[in-house]
Symmetry: C2
Subunit: 402 residues, 2 copies
């Protein structure tokens, strides 16, 4: 069985590298003699040994009966969507790292795969090289999963770690991340939480079995986090993490992406730099966590190749999984409850007013001129927003993970 790769960018060249470098170990472990026959790219790569396998015409791949499995690592939701549909209809299994495409059209593509007795897999779409999709759909298939909480974006975790360890402001840490190649020139998808949002949509759909639309997920990024917030966090023996969170309760799913104060003793609090971790709670298993590099060319490519191998192994009798076409009923974020940390002016009148508005809170002093911190009791998002508006003078606030 031969493979094709769509796109010779970072992940695409990684896929070719993993298949060639680890050819023998793959054959030994899985009995699969994996070989890349074509790489689709509009560009040419003169001098690169891949050049002789470069094709510019998608049809060559689509119509070659020798091609059984294809890695779609071109990204985007245009040509990638079109090509994936056509490949599945042509009876070829497709693996991808393209989270936008899975989040937007995954339900349809899974259906098309099922109808054509092939599979559509996306281990690399969430958490890069961390095995999480396959554990969710196989190892934890005897579990009623009721919570997933992940640090699923390495860029923001790197920025937050830098802010904490080097006492930097957000913009300086972002610049450093860009210089290191961990953040893009246009970093919005990462820092505003859109990337994490798509990942938690995919993980939630898989865990709860119904379609969770990423557009329904409340999403906040980390661009408003400051060095002062971090000083308060440290006073509370906490750290700040961008969490992608979802919880199933009574048939409804609460899902959100936002920065949270997380205890330093919490397994998620210990996840630093570009590392990712995904925490899962099941009704029999209790707590489990998957930890590793959330990005990186070879780690992500390795996950794509692991899918290709399983697809080759199960060709003809793919194990179906995914989620149903039914839309998951969502809980309104406004009704979800938690504690909040609020920064307030420390003049006497504000303190008195804050105590009256937020109820008996616990104060946190981080020696910041003219202000103090306050931890509220457990409040709903709506209730907290109302009180925040009534108080009118808060500097900022952060949610607290319980």
């Amino acid at each position: 069985m031969k493979a094709a790769v769509l796109g010779y960018g970072t992940v695409g060249s990684g896929v070719v590298h993993v298949i060639e470098e680890n050819h023998d170990v793959i054959l030994e472990k899985s009995g699969i003699d994996l070989e890349v026959k074509y790489v689709l790219d509009l560009r040419d790569f003169p001098g690169d040994p891949i050049q002789e396998r470069i094709v510019h015409d998608f049809k060559v791949i689509e119509e070659d009966p020798e091609i059984g499995v294809v890695a779609e690592v071109m990204g985007g939701t245009g040509a990638a969507y079109e090509f994936t549909k056509r490949l599945l209809k042509a009876g070829k299994s497709v693996s991808t790292s393209n989270k936008e495409l899975v989040a937007q059209h995954g339900t349809e593509l899974l259906d098309i795969a099922r109808e054509n007795h092939v599979s559509y897999m996306f281990e690399a779409s969430c958490g890069g090289g961390i095995p999480i999709i396959r554990p969710l759909r196989t190892c934890l298939n005897a579990e009623r999963i009721d919570e997933i909480t992940g640090i699923v974006n390495g860029t923001t975790n790197y920025i937050l770690t830098k802010m904490i360890e080097e006492d930097l402001e957000f913009s300086d840490a972002l610049k450093e991340a860009q210089d290191m190649g961990y953040a893009e020139r246009n970093p919005e998808a990462d820092i505003e939480g859109h990337d994490a949002c798509r990942k938690i949509a995919i993980l939630s759909s898989l865990a709860y079995g119904k379609r969770v639309d990423y557009k329904d997920i409340y999403t906040e990024g980390i661009s408003r986090i400051t060095a002062a917030d971090i000083r308060y966090a440290e006073k509370m023996r906490k750290t700040i993490k961008l969490l992608a969170y979802s919880h199933l309760d009574d048939g409804k799913v609460l899902a959100m992406v936002a920065p949270y104060l997380v205890g330093q003793e919490d397994p998620l609090g210990a996840v630093k730099g570009v590392f990712n971790a995904i925490f899962v709670h099941g009704n029999m298993l209790g707590d489990a966590m998957f930890y590793g590099k959330g990005a990186g060319k070879d780690a992500t490519a390795s996950a794509v190749v692991s899918d290709l191998i399983e697809q080759a192994q199960t060709a003809g009798a793919p194990v179906m999984s995914g989620w149903s076409d039914e839309k998951q009923e969502m809980q309104d974020v406004k009704d979800s409850c938690r504690q909040f940390f609020v920064r307030i002016p420390s003049d006497e009148e504000s303190l008195r007013q804050a105590a009256a508005v937020f109820g008996s809170g616990q104060f946190v002093n981080a020696d910041i001129e003219g202000e103090t911190g306050l931890v509220t009791g457990i409040l709903s998002e709506k209730d907290f927003a109302d009180r925040l508006a009534e108080f009118g003078k808060a500097v900022s606030f952060i949610r607290i993970r319980d």
Copy 2:
């Protein structure tokens, strides 16, 4: 497809519980309508709803064509071995939590399964509910794995955590673990490292593809660790963990089980109480870690059931995996190199002598009367043992994880 369960002990009753409690979610996620038809046990359970499905005669299960998958959770290497062989030969897939049996006869049982077009699975044999076996054989099948380091025994990790957090001596912490039900009355298999040894043998066989015999693995337990050792560890910002370690280098595997000093910032250093974690390094992936409850009735049972589900899904076309019959070449532990921590008498002559024997070491003072600690440079085990004998006055030593 109907299932049978061999043994109605702790894990066996858990398997029945998971299958019944999560019947609907299993059906929804996997399309498998899993049902327990028989439970083999020598005892009767009057009043327990299981009673009507209890059989005392193994042949009933062996000869019933409706039984496609069987959970062997009776333990031991006697009847369990015999029954597993007969079931596989009768064309039934078997899942187990029985690490002794897998470590001792796994290679043969995997072969018999292959010959009979069924599968032998053991997700629950290492790390209880933590998904690790399946990730190793599927998610990481594109990887050349070169290191596995695990905290794979919850009992010893609980004891060490208690010693650290409550400043207890080993015997007091062991007693507490026994009172809590985390350690058995006869705790030898756990505290002397035999349980961890079997687990690292299984994980290493799977990761490196050749048979690693547990009898070839150098094994030390934690019974010689004292409260004083822990005071030294804390001075070094380290903790003490029983590590099950294996490393592949140049075709040879170094495997050992021993207590190690582990950095508090090391992901493995943060694993506390009865939790387990398994760290894996692959040539493309880099570092990954799997974390969760290493034991417990429902968590372990959930792992057994996840195997039964996969076996039901792939009935007729099982995906083969395991390891070859070839014996893995092992590296002699004596040649392996690392730093060591040694406690020595603090009189002037001993200090002078220690400096001469161990070379320029770094001293650690934990305010313990009449002694001090010393961290050696990197030495081979053999070299260190020679120097230790030459010095002749060391109180004790612990290896250091790099």
